[in-house]
Each structure stands twice: as C-alpha cells, then as structure tokens.
C-alpha cells in the first residue's frame, strides 16, 4: 500500500480541522439519534393509542412526526452528506479506505435509508388519514429502517477504533463485527431513545392545543424511555472496556481534554437520568418548556462529550493500528524516512513567495503533509506555541521522537533534512517571519537527528507505553521498586 497519497491539502487558517469535523459530527449524530429514537417512540405512542391507553397519542404523534421531518429529514439528511464531504476535506485517505473496505455495507445502509425516507415521508403526508393498523405498519418500517441505518454505520465507525480481527484477515465481517460493535450499538440506541424522549417533552410544551393535564400525561408517557438511562453507566464501562488500553488510559486520566470531555458526557447523562427517574417518573413532576429544553441541551452536551472522546481516543490513528491521523500507513513510516515525505508531493505552497529560504518551503510542506491535520502553525493547537518553550535541540529531539513526546502523535515520517526544515520553520515564524533567514545544514546536527529518529523506532508511542504499563503492573504485583528515570535518551 502507498505510504502516503498526495492530495491538495486544505488550509483552514487558525482553525483546527478536527474542530470542523468534530463539530459537524456532533450535530449530525444528535439529529440522527433524534430520528432513530423518534421512530421508536412513535411506534410506542401508536401502540398505546391502539391499546386505548393513551387517547392523545395519535394526535401528538402526528405533530411530533412533522417536527421530525422538518428537523431530521432536512438537516439530518444533508448533514449526513456533509459528514462525507467534510471527511474528504479533512482526510481523503481515511474516508477512501472506509469506502473501499465497506462499500457494500454502506450500500446496504443506503437501501435502508431509502426505505426510511419513503416510509417517513408517506407517514408525514398521509399518516393522519390512515387507519391505525396501516399507521403502525408504516411507523414500524420507518423505525426499523432508521435503526438499521444505525446498525450498519455503527459497525464502520466502531471499526475505526477497534478494527479487531480485520487487521489480520482483512475480512469485511471481521471488521464490521469488531470488539466495539455491540457496546457502541446498544449505547447509541439508548442515547437515541433518550434524545427522542427529551425532544418529545420539548414539543409537548411547544405544540399548542393541549391542556396542562394533557401535557402532563403526555410528558409522563414520553419520558418512560428515559429509564433506560440507568443502564448507561454499565454500557459506558463496557464500551470503555473494549477500547485498546492506551485509548482507555487517555480517556481515564492520561489526557486532560479527553478526560474532561468524558466527565462532561458522564456528568450530563447522569443529571438527565437522575432528573428523569426521580423527578419525572417517580415524583411525576411536570416538565415545562424551559426545563425540557435545558434537559435536551444537556443531552447535546453529553453527545458532544461522547463523540469528542470517541474521535479523540483513536489518536494517533484514524484507523487504529492501520492508518495514522496524517494519512500515513503504519508500515509507511520507515519508507518515508528513506524517501522523504514531500519528495513526491506535486502541490506547491499557496504562499511560496513569502518564504525567504528554500529550507522553509520544505519545512512548510512537511508541516502540511505530516502535522496540519491536527495542528495549525499559529492558530488553535499551534505547533509554534506548543514548541515555544523548547530549546532548539529539544525541538529536534521532540519532533524526531514525536511518538514519545506524546503518544497520541504518530512517529515522524521523513528524513533528517525534512525534520530540520520543520524546526527552522517554527523558529522563523516565532522570530516574526523575518525577510531573510539563514539556512541550517550542519552535518553533525543532521546526524544527531538521524540518530534520534532511529532510536525512537517506527512503532506508535502507545506500544512502548503499554509495555511500561504492563511493567508497572508487574512491579506493583511483585513489590519490586521502579527503575530510576534517566534523562539520557535510551538506545
């Protein structure tokens, strides 16, 4: 496989690319889960109506479905396409591999999506005129189709973090039914039910025509699925358990932002669950428009936290153990260290004339190829800021041993000359982009860089981290003392 495919990389200026895809992803997932949970809730309401247990259910279901169509059929569908296009903008190779490996799964998902759209639209258009049985049948088809869409997509998304047996067999089903598939599917199903319930509470208050008593009884019914929130902690723990140890360790303390986002997700879910179970279901408190909106906003925060963690803990990979975040294959690191990471790059820099030295142009290209997917030069998560306190040699060492500097970064995948160019670029920007710049090319420095790169090896940092974690556990178990840390770079 080609170690690196060259695409005209987009530059979002001071904005981190991850923020764009992450932001859109959170929004889309929230809407999609609303649609999925909405289908299930509507079936439940229709069933209650047919059993004579809730005379208002039919009327409310029609109103709810209108909102579902307007929000989820339009925004949900278009943001779905947008996810695809944004993925191409951020990491064409990652989405390319996903499409290549799972195109029949995606095509299968599409066939369910078609059914979802047709069943949903017919219900929206003719539902109020249909007999109960036909309504129930349409709703069931709609709900099954939308949940099946989740089923298929979930396999692909969870594969990215836990590719499981696929890494060896390359079998589509080994990849699809990966270790994270089931916990993630159940977790998302419960989230979908919760979001739909909360959205229903908002709508009950927004839609006119119901008395206060009627609204109260509808809230009590629509909030029932929120009981499922009680199993969320267990599902979350199960999901965490299936993650690779390094990913899990970042979410549980190893990386501050990751841990914070996980806490945010868990905290918001717990608050919703507690309020729902104790307040709404046990004490039968009435949930007015403002409270239900607040609860729905909390659900959004929980979704955002969860999605951020799911995206973040994959690092330094976009497809775990296979493709690094910067679209370089795991096996490609060694090749690019020989060949150079920009040697075959056909794309010039957009601002090439602004660099006073060829070495800086090379540095900027190296940054573009290897770092720009997660960093900016001077904006958010800027390399210049991150390296600001490092000495010149420290910059060389830390970049040469990138995966040791932070295990969620991939190994440096270029020549010593390329690395030195990148270091010079950082220095030049830090110095305020002066009009003249002295190129560096000291053979001793380059040799030192070569040695550092070689010492770091080509494996991702977490492998070394895992080895250390295991060693620490063994030490703890056997009571033997920890070895003293040495500043000297290990061979």
């Amino acid at each position: 496989m080609n170690p690196l495919e060259y695409y005209p990389i987009v530059d979002l200026g001071p904005v981190m690319k991850g923020m764009v895809i992450g932001g859109l992803g959170i929004f889309h997932v929230f809407l999609a889960q609303f649609a999925i949970g909405g289908g299930m809730l509507l079936c439940y309401l229709q069933w209650l109506h047919m059993q004579g247990k809730c005379p208002l259910a039919r009327r409310f279901a029609d109103g709810y479905f209108k909102a579902l169509v307007l929000v989820s059929f339009v925004l949900g569908a278009v943001t779905g396409v947008a996810m695809w296009f944004t993925s191409i903008q951020i990491s064409p190779r990652t989405i390319g591999v996903m499409v290549h490996e799972f195109h029949w799964v995606w095509a299968t998902e599409w066939s369910f999506f078609c059914l979802e759209v047709v069943a949903g639209y017919l219900f929206y258009r003719y539902g109020p005129r249909l007999a109960d049985r036909a309504r129930m049948q349409l709703l069931l088809l709609y709900a099954c189709a939308s949940w099946m869409s989740l089923f298929w997509i979930n396999g692909i998304l969870s594969w990215q973090l836990t590719p499981g047996g696929w890494l060896e067999s390359r079998s589509v089903w080994d990849g699809f039914f990966n270790p994270g598939f089931l916990p993630s599917l159940i977790f998302r199903t419960v989230s979908a039910a919760a979001i739909a319930s909360l959205a229903a509470c908002v709508l009950i208050n927004l839609v006119g025509g119901f008395t206060r008593d009627q609204r109260e009884s509808l809230v009590a019914i629509c909030a029932r699925p929120l009981v499922l929130m009680l199993v969320m902690p267990l599902l979350g723990a199960w999901y965490l358990g299936t993650m690779p140890p390094a990913s899990r360790s970042w979410a549980t303390g190893g990386s501050v932002p990751m841990t914070m986002f996980l806490t945010m997700a868990v905290g918001s879910s717990m608050l919703i669950g507690l309020y729902a179970v104790v307040g709404i279901l046990r004490q039968r408190l009435f949930v007015n428009g403002a409270t239900s909106l607040l609860l729905l906003a909390l659900a959004f925060v929980a979704t955002a936290g969860g999605e951020f963690v799911r995206e973040g803990v994959r690092k330094p990979f976009t497809i775990r153990e296979y493709l690094y975040s910067n679209a370089i294959t795991r096996d490609g690191i060694a090749v690019l260290r020989e060949r150079g990471s920009i040697t075959d790059d056909p794309y010039p820099l957009r601002d090439e004339a602004a660099y006073p030295a060829e070495q800086l142009v090379v540095g900027a290209k190296v940054f573009r190829a290897q770092c720009s997917v997660c960093h900016t030069l001077e904006g958010i998560n800027a390399v210049v800021d991150l390296a600001a306190t490092w000495s010149l040699d420290q910059r060389r060492l830390n970049i040469a041993q990138l995966q040791r500097t932070k295990p969620f970064m991939p190994p440096f995948a270029g020549t010593a000359e390329e690395l030195e160019s990148l270091v010079q670029l950082i220095g030049w920007i830090e110095a305020g982009r002066p009009a003249a710049w002295q190129e560096s090319g000291d053979a001793a420095v380059l040799n030192q860089i070569r040695q550092w790169i070689a010492e770091a090896g080509t494996s991702p940092g977490h492998e070394r981290m895992s080895a250390e974690l295991v060693a620490a556990e063994v030490r703890e178990a056997t009571g033997s003392p920890a070895p003293r840390r040495s500043m000297k770079v290990e061979p």
């Binding site: 396409v81 290549h100 799964v105 069943a119 088809l141 957009r350």
Partner: protein
C-alpha cells in the same frame, strides 16, 4: 477501445461502471424534477397569481418539490459511493481544490430545502404575492448553483494537469470552455424529464389535462400544451448545448464518443430525444395526452437519459487513465458484502413498494 461501453473493460471496472450509471440515472430522475421544477415554479411566481392559479403544474410542484428534493439527495448517495470506488483520487482532488466553494453546496441545499417548505406553508399564502417571487427565485438560484458546482467539480476532476497550478494559485474556481455548455445540457435535459414526470403525476393525481376546471378561464396555453412547450424547449436546448459542448472536447474524446465505445449510445441518445420531441409535438397538435403517447415520451426520455449518463462516462474513461485505476477496482471487487446488500436491497425495495401501495390504497 473497440467494444461498446461498458464492455471491453476489466470485469470489476465494468461492474462498478454499470452500478455508477444505473444509480446516477436514478439521481438524475429526481434531480431533474428538482432543478427544472424550481425553475418552472420561479417562472410561474414571476408571471403572477392569475397565471399560477390556472396552472395545475405549479400546484403539483409546490406540493411535491420538498419530497423530490429528499429523494434527489437520497438517490445521490449511491452514485457518490461508486464514484469513490471508481475514481477516488480524481473526485477527492476536485473536492479539495474547490474546497469552501464546493462545501457551500451543503448550506445552500439546506436553505433551499427549508424554503421549499416555506413555499407550501400557510404562512406564505397569507402574505402578499410579491414575497413568493424572491422565495422561489432563491430556491431556483440555489439549485442552479448546486448543479453548477457539480459540473465544475466533475470537469476539474478530469483535468489533472491543472491541479497543482490551481492549488498554488489559491483560487477556488475552475473555469473551462466546456463548463457552461455542459451545465446547459443538464439544465435543459431536466425540462424534458420534468415534463414526463409531471404528465404522469397529473394523470395519477387525476388532474384535468385538457379542460380547465369549471369557472376558471383559460389563460395562455392549455396544461398539456404548456408541458409540450416545456419538453420541446428543453430538448432543443439539449441539442444546442450538446453541439456546443462537443466543440470544446479534445479530438480523442470526440473519437471515443463517436467510435465503438460511445457511438451506439450517442445514436440512442439522439433517437430518444427525437422520439420525445415527436411525441410532444403530437401532444401539442392533439391538445390531449393519450396514454400511448405518454408511454412513448417516457420511453424516449429514459433512453436519452440513460444514454446521456453513459456518454458522460465515456468522456471520463477516455480522459482518465482507466487502466491504471483497474487495479483498485479489482481489489474492491474482492471485498465481501455484496450478497448481503443484494438481499437487503430486494427486501427494502419490496417494503418501499408496499409502503406506497398502503398509502395509495388509503388515499
């Protein structure tokens, strides 16, 4: 190439090409309704309330355009998948080069989609007629922009030599002499498809195609003749733009289009168009729309649409290095999951038919 499209390619390439063409035809069926429908609606709104009141097509379009847009998007997903299998590097590179400009089609699509709902809402009917003109105008402009962007993206994907320079220039616009005539082909072809689709809708919804409703004065052309005019002007527009587009193509591509690979399809496309034009002319003369004529126009439309999509692919395969891509296609073809897809596609298609029948019976 000495064989007719899609034969003569390695089996995997041939397989994915057929899938791309089939799914893209489906996308075009709905996309044409949306694009030409939005133009028709905007024109009607511009002509004023009296004209619109006597035009049943306007009412149908107002009612059905949101759903058709949903279908156009949904149907667009499948060819999007196969384009990525067949021409991954080309498609992605064009997307990336156009960058924000390309991505703009998504917010535009959302705005158009919502405005379509606004157009059929009670809210706007309570307002002065004047407001409907900009709403319909924005919807049409939005869809036209999306169509323009797809064409621009497509042509850029075929022009590999221009990629590095365009990237270096920092521009997000790609211009080529073929852009407008090619867009023109799609735009005008959309009216021929729309006319057939509206005719079927009118028939199925029991619309009076000859006599105006009692008490309504006839204004301008009859409903049938209006459709005939729509289809005929679309067909003639396709011919004019097609000729202009052919002028812009390099010799090798023209040879592929007229030679063994595309020649038969070119003949079929022109024949399909001729059949449609003849059928619509007959409809206009008779001022009624008997079923056999509708079936003839539909067949002509399907033949020319399918052939047009095939010719679009002939242009592409004769421009890119399809032999080099064949390795990736063969690899993709070894990946499992096809039987599962076929199974669920059949089950879901049956379920879709069942849904439509259930709703139709109830209504």
């Amino acid at each position: 190439m000495t064989e007719v499209f899609p034969l003569g390619f390695p089996p995997a390439t041939c397989f994915y090409l057929v899938l791309l063409v089939a799914t893209l035809v489906l996308h075009m069926v709905f996309m044409h309704y949306v694009l030409a429908g939005a133009a028709y609606l905007a024109f009607g709104r511009f002509m004023g309330p009296k004209r619109c009141a006597v035009c049943g097509w306007q009412a149908i379009l107002i009612d059905w355009l949101p759903f058709a847009t949903g279908l156009a998007i949904t149907a667009g997903v499948a060819p999007l998948l196969f384009v990525q299998i067949l021409y991954q590097r080309e498609f992605y590179t064009a997307n990336l080069l156009l960058s924000h400009r390309w991505m703009a089609i998504l917010p535009v699509l959302i705005v158009c989609f919502y405005l379509l709902y606004v157009q059929k809402s009670a809210w706007i009917t309570r307002r002065a007629w004047f407001w409907r003109i900009p709403v319909a105008g924005v919807v049409f402009a939005g869809f036209a922009f999306i169509a323009f962007s797809w064409t621009e993206n497509h042509l850029l994907s075929l022009d590999a030599a221009a990629w590095p320079e365009l990237y270096g220039s920092g521009s997000f616009r790609y211009t080529s002499s073929g852009l407008l005539p090619r867009l023109g082909i799609w735009f005008f072809a959309a009216f021929t498809t729309l006319a057939v689709e509206l005719a079927w809708q009118g028939r199925l919804l029991g619309m009076k195609l000859v006599q105006p409703p009692p008490g309504v004065a006839v204004m301008g052309l009859s409903a049938v003749r209006r459709l005939s005019l729509t289809a005929t002007s679309g067909g003639l527009g396709v011919l004019a733009c097609g000729t202009a587009y052919a002028w812009t193509l390099p010799g090798e591509t023209t040879r592929a289009l007229t030679g063994p690979l595309g020649g038969a399809w070119l003949v079929a496309a022109v024949a399909g168009l001729a059949v449609q034009l003849a059928a619509w002319a007959w409809v206009a003369v008779q001022n009624r729309f008997p079923l056999p004529l509708l079936i003839t126009a539909t067949a002509g439309c399907l033949v020319s649409l399918t052939s047009g999509v095939v010719l679009r692919e002939v242009v592409r395969v004769s421009t890119v290095d399809i032999k080099a891509l064949a390795v990736a296609h063969a690899e993709a073809a070894t990946i499992g999951g096809l039987p599962v897809f076929l199974l669920f596609a059949a089950v879901n298609a049956a379920a879709i038919v069942w849904c439509i029948r259930t709703a139709a019976r109830a209504v």
